[in-house]
């Protein structure tokens, strides 16, 4: 009896089924017109409490596959918290309560039988300030593959070379791969962190205000990278700067006070927002 039940559940959990269920769900914000592809991450009625503060209020959202989705909103609106529920880094914080579901490829990652390391391996995280690990440039990129069992030196070298090339850092550092990563400039460090994240071959890239500590030139480089990477990865960026969202976003989610106010394609949100709050925020009435 029990195996049968499980199979039924699995069946519902499969992406296509979820997609249908989701389409029927009333909580959606104009999902059906937007999507050409299946969503990569689906958030369902997510409520998050941190030390009894209600941080995320009943958020439901679908992150499309192979596109850049920007989450915008004023400080303290829960953007970063939402991002951290995607790779379950939130549960490391003190006194946190999570209700609702986050589905990645149709699997609820907050479920009990999910191995958290596998979830995180699927997502490269780019934090606000670049955070190189205390080791050499080479070892930083090789860190992820090594952890997941790659020991072959030639293979590691291949991975490191490929990923550093992918972020345009190879030419700059190929002479000093053994040097401490901390000696790179901050823009280089951020690209190194991106390469490090890509080295575990994720499917999703999460960026938490990934350019806010960088100068304009480094920011442009990172943005260009995001634009070229979206062919292969789903990218979710939390950003403070509206102009950045305007430059690179395909889809935009606007959050305010822990609620998802509006979600839609970038052109739609920026030219014809439906909600008054969104209009005010885009127009610069508050930030």
């Amino acid at each position: 009896m029990i195996p049968n039940l499980l199979r039924i559940e699995k069946h519902i959990d499969s992406p296509t089924e979820k997609f249908k269920v989701m389409k029927e769900s009333q909580n959606q914000v104009a999902v059906d017109q937007i999507f050409k592809t299946k969503p990569h991450i689906s958030v369902r009625n997510l409520n998050v409490y941190l030390t009894k503060n209600h941080i995320l209020k009943n958020v439901s959202l679908d992150i499309p596959d192979k596109a850049i989705t920007c989450i915008i909103g004023p400080s303290g609106c829960g953007k970063t918290t939402l991002l951290k529920t995607f790779n379950r880094l939130l549960q490391n914080s003190v006194d946190v309560k999570i209700e609702g579901e986050v589905l990645v490829d149709g699997v609820n990652i907050h479920g009990k039988d999910v191995e958290v390391e596998n979830i995180r391996k699927k997502m490269g995280l780019l934090s606000q300030r670049p955070c190189p690990l205390p080791m050499s440039i080479f070892d930083n990129v090789a860190y992820g593959p090594r952890i997941h069992g790659t020991r072959n030196k030639r293979k590691l070298y291949e991975i490191v070379k490929n990923q550093l090339e992918a972020v345009g850092l190879w030419e700059e550092v190929k002479e000093r791969l053994k040097a401490p990563a901390i000696r790179l400039s901050i823009g280089q460090q951020q690209r190194l962190c991106l390469a490090r994240g890509l080295a575990v071959s994720p499917e999703i890239i999460l960026g938490d205000e990934a350019t806010s500590a960088l100068d304009p030139i480094a920011t442009t480089k990172i943005e260009q990278l995001f634009l070229s990477l979206k062919k292969e990865y789903s990218i979710v960026l939390v950003t403070h700067t509206l102009r950045q969202a305007r430059r690179i976003a395909d889809y935009v989610a606007f959050m305010y006070m822990g609620e998802l106010i509006e979600f839609g394609s970038a052109t739609e949100i920026f030219t014809n927002p439906k909600h008054q709050l969104t209009r005010d925020y885009i127009g610069g009435s508050f930030s």
Partner: protein
Amino acid sequence: MNKIRYNNYRKIKELVLRNSMLFLTVISLSFAVIIGISLYYKSVPILDQQSLWSLLSGESWRPLKGEFGFYPFIMGTLWVTGIAILISLPLCLLSAIYLSEYAAPYIKKIVFPMVDVLAGIPPVVYGVWGILVVVPFISTTLAPHFVEFSTGYSVLAGAIVLAIMIIPLMISVFIEIFDALPGGLREASLSLGATNWQTIKKVVLRKSFPGLAAAVILALSRAFGETIAVLMVCGNVSEVPNSVFDPAYPLPALIANNYGEMMSIPMYDSALMLSALLLFVIILAFNAISRLVLIRIEKNFAL
């Protein structure tokens, strides 16, 4: 006019305050130098009489015959302190890792005050506890497995008591070091799919290694000087210990046991001053070496 005078007054006040604080700082720091110089000055008579090397390597300690060999005491100090660190380092490191990386907040809330209590117990209480518990345990239970006979008053007893005494210091310093690491570092490693333990082993411990090394040196110098509790349990026989079940006679115990009679025997006072100077120099050397090692580590490790 008024305004200008007022400003001058503030300037003078600032200047006076600043310089008086400088003066007080210099005074408090100069005590280290003053103590060092006076110890040296007092130990000159014995240094004039015998060479430093013969004093350091001499094994017999017979003040009445004028024989002052410090070798057993130096070895006793090293044995007791070394084994104390060997016992307490893994214990403290693992507990600190547990408390800062794994433990739930409420566990920390319970444990931290207990660590403080452990730190607040007076050394003499540790000593009495050592005599009543550790010494009999060693002589009746532990030692018979390894040696024919031990009174229990031994290197091991001293080391165990000393280890327990430096545990609170080490744990709290270790936890401080771990907590001072940037949180993004752990997130960076975890987000790549590393487990908690992989993160600790490859990132947390690596990044905090210089700090941990400095903390161990700090604990070592604290342990070198610990007197009363060690004196009570380690036997105080001036022979070089051959095993952990042999008694030992560390330098601080030598000074504390004999300062009462040092004036009645010629050269005795000078010899004790020399042992104090030795202790002083050993601790100084440890601090200096640790500084150098730290600088080397920070340069060579890609931290």
